[in-house]
Symmetry: C2
Subunit: 119 residues, 2 copies
Amino acid sequence: MGKINLKEKLDKFSDHWSPKVIAEMNDYQFKLVKIKGDFVWHNHTDTDEVFIVLEGSMKIEFENETIELDEGEMYVVRKGVEHKPYAENECKVMLVEPRGVVNTGDIKGNLTASNDVWV
Amino acid sequence: MGKINLKEKLDKFSDHWSPKVIAEMNDYQFKLVKIKGDFVWHNHTDTDEVFIVLEGSMKIEFENETIELDEGEMYVVRKGVEHKPYAENECKVMLVEPRGVVNTGDIKGNLTASNDVWV
């Protein structure tokens, strides 16, 4: 695999809440996702999950607080912690997590995306 | 741990070739490093290593090719692959790799940095 240009990869899809894999490191994956509007409350029982904002801004709601992430900011959601991502306007995000993580955790629904889709 | 602003973290150190940990996800670490000039040939026998260029540009020499990475580009160096990072001008990079990885691999020398230094 050669080098990966994040902007070129982002230009290749336009759907929201559907992470695309761009790279693997050991058994972890780097994914790009465009988000807009409300996601669902969920958690990942087995793993932490990293959000890195590449463009725009987003919020992550927790039970007792809401954090706002702007471009160039990152956050580690700890395993098992209930959270709900949200973006008023489209926000472009890189996710880092183990291969096999489903975007909605154990909550399957309309926003559950196909896993392991590469772009 | 709260949100992490990459630029604020980068402003907190100025030395070269000395990665600083800014976050942990499971048993992996996200590190920032400023590089300038030549590094040493080395490899990491047990793990892949991710380079993400945040500002500037750098090169990674391999035995049979050299790749150039500009801002917004990333590369996964596969485990066991000999490589030598290089930057003509200062370049700011995020590394992602398992906790415990030493920057020079098995080659200890002047450029071997203290491990697990947080910023």
